[in-house]
């Protein structure tokens, strides 16, 4: 409807006013539109300039993901929604998670976590139960040759797991994750 109104209003001005007056009106409208949308343009510019390459552990993740045959994220993208966090912290955590997924995606390895815009969690209790199973499955593969396991620091539910993995052979603590590489 917004775009239909846009088309009809612009064409209407052109047809209903003399050409010179219509062009003047269109130029004035364009100026107003640019001025009015300046906060959105600023937001766009800010996002475009700050979103690239923000992952702190990028090199370490790349080095580990290259030889891996699969990458298991704990929690998965969907399970990250079940984490007991305030919305802003969850947003930041998911953004970091997305960066991790983008970094490992270049190796085209199977992962346990795929972004899906409709898969947002609605039933946290059911999801938590499901995530427990997924965590166990990832843990079972911890030492499987070729498996890379990435446990996010921001996920409160994984605190015990992180503590247990600190001393585990093949695991190392990075600034945002605990990363484990199964021995080949």
């Amino acid at each position: 409807m917004v775009y239909l109104v846009t088309l009809l209003a612009i064409a209407g001005v052109w047809k209903l006013y003399p050409p010179r007056a219509a062009l003047t009106l269109l130029v004035v409208a364009l100026g107003l539109q640019v001025w009015d949308t300046s906060p959105l343009w600023n937001h766009l510019r800010h996002d475009a300039l700050t979103q690239s390459d923000r992952l702190a552990d990028r090199q370490a993740v790349l080095a580990a993901a290259g030889p891996a045959s699969r990458v298991n994220f704990v929690p998965t993208y969907l399970c990250a929604f079940a984490e007991p966090m305030n919305p802003d912290a969850r947003e930041a955590s998911l953004a970091q998670f997305s960066d991790l997924r983008v970094v490992v995606s270049r190796f085209v390895r199977p992962t346990t976590s795929v972004h899906n815009s409709r898969m947002t969690a609605a039933d946290i209790a059911a999801l938590t139960a499901r995530c427990d199973g997924e965590r166990q499955a990832a843990l079972a593969q911890l030492d499987t040759p070729g498996a890379m396991t990435v446990v996010l620091n921001d996920a409160p539910s994984e605190a015990l797991l992180r503590a247990a993995l600190i001393g585990h052979p093949g695991c190392s603590a990075l600034s945002t994750t605990i990363m484990c590489a199964g021995h080949r």
Binding site: L4, A9, G12, W14, A22, L23, L25, Q33, D36
Partner: protein
């Protein structure tokens, strides 16, 4: 489509925001350029680039032939707040598809068009489906408006309309099947409706550089953001000042398109209509949420929902249904009065099919409503 990615059951590639057609191009380009990790950025850039020409095409169809006017119109469309607000959401930046769809609709609806062929919408419908289902739903509504307009003006016969719809259904169904749209898994569907659409959103001044509010209000709902922009409001007022006497004639000529638009707005508002805290129409969001969540384990969403509803719920659902049906009935009655026989016959035919589908497979209606509501 890519089993090694380990997609959970029920995932469909059309909702992964990966823009499959562009991903395919990036994958092919990998042979020459290596890993093309920036393909989503290139896609967003393309979306912004295509917005202006798409608007200019729409304006051309409406009779604007002046190059400076077309250029300025295109630039105004690039400065559409609804586009800029979606920056970062790569799939929903493809709003040029809507402008192209509207251009096709306006071409088919114009006086000079002797024959209406809604198959012209097919390529955009398929592309929209592969970009995001929300865009597909909007494109589908535009196609529906073209179809109803063709029947209204008697430039499209009912057999031709059915044949074209069947062709589209086969092709789109094949794409949906390939993308996993038809493979419903145990993933709980997101219940829609708790965030009502603000019908005044096109005139809601936020964020706006002119009015000094740089952000949405803290309690604002980004999903209903639809501010036209000050420049567009000026143009709209200028048009209405000169054209208000013609509104009646235009309404009569384009009644089906107008009604499709109004129905979309009513449908998109919410399934839960309130006055203050009092629920007056539809179903309470919590009831639906519970039904969706328990549905997978207890015989389906609709089955669970029916068990949760009380007498007052049925009254409110009935009233909401009456409101939607009343709008549709108004058009059908007008068609009958103005001797537009094809239109009510076609609507009647589909009402029969819908009733049969409700009897045979009621969950199909619930699924379609759930999938399409938030897209309107």
């Amino acid at each position: 489509m890519v089993p090694d990615l380990g997609l959970p059951p029920g995932t469909n590639i059309g909702l992964t925001d990966s823009i499959p057609p562009v991903a395919l191009v990036a994958k092919l380009a990998r042979c020459w350029y290596g890993y093309l990790r920036l393909y989503l950025s290139l896609w967003v850039f393309f979306c912004y680039l295509a917005q202006g020409p798409a608007c200019a095409i729409g304006l051309y169809v409406l009779g604007v032939r002046n190059v400076p006017a077309l250029s300025i119109g295109g630039l105004i469309a690039v400065c559409a707040p609804v586009l800029l607000f979606r920056f970062g959401y790569a799939a929903l930046c493809a709003q040029f598809l809507l402008l192209l769809g509207l251009a096709v609709h306006l071409q088919l609806a114009c006086e000079a068009s002797r024959r209406v062929d809604i198959l012209y919408h097919l390529p955009r419908l398929v592309v929209a489906l592969l970009v995001h289902v929300y865009l597909f739903a909007m494109m589908f509504a535009i196609m529906l408006a073209s179809l109803l307009q063709g029947l209204w003006r008697e430039r499209l016969t009912i057999p031709a309309a059915l044949a074209q719809l069947a062709t589209m259904a086969v092709l789109i169904g094949a794409v949906m099947w390939a993308c996993g749209y038809l493979a419903l898994g145990p993933i709980p569907m997101k219940p829609y409706g708790p965030r009502p659409l603000n019908l005044a959103a096109p005139f809601f001044l936020a964020p706006s550089g002119i009015f000094g509010n740089a952000r949405l209000p803290a309690d604002g709902n980004g999903e209903d953001f639809a501010w036209l922009g000050s420049g567009m409001v000026v143009l709209l007022i200028a048009t209405l000042i000169r054209a208000w006497r013609q509104i009646g004639v235009m309404t009569r000529a384009h009644l089906p398109s107008l009604i499709v638009g109004i129905l979309l707005m009513v449908f998109a508002v919410t399934y839960s209509v309130r006055i203050g805290p009092v629920l007056i129409l539809g179903i309470g969001p919590e009831r639906l949420r519970q039904a969706v969540l328990r549905g997978a384990e207890h015989g389906g969403t609709l089955h669970t929902l029916i068990g949760l509803l009380g007498p007052m719920d049925y009254v409110r659902i009935g009233l909401y249904g009456l409101l939607l049906a009343g709008i549709a009935a108004l058009v059908v009655l007008r068609a009958w009065q103005w001797r537009r026989a094809r239109f009510p016959h076609f609507i009647g035919f589909f009402m029969v099919i819908w009733v049969v589908s409700l009897v045979v497979r009621p969950s199909a209606t619930a699924l379609i409503i759930s999938s399409f509501q938030a897209s309107s």
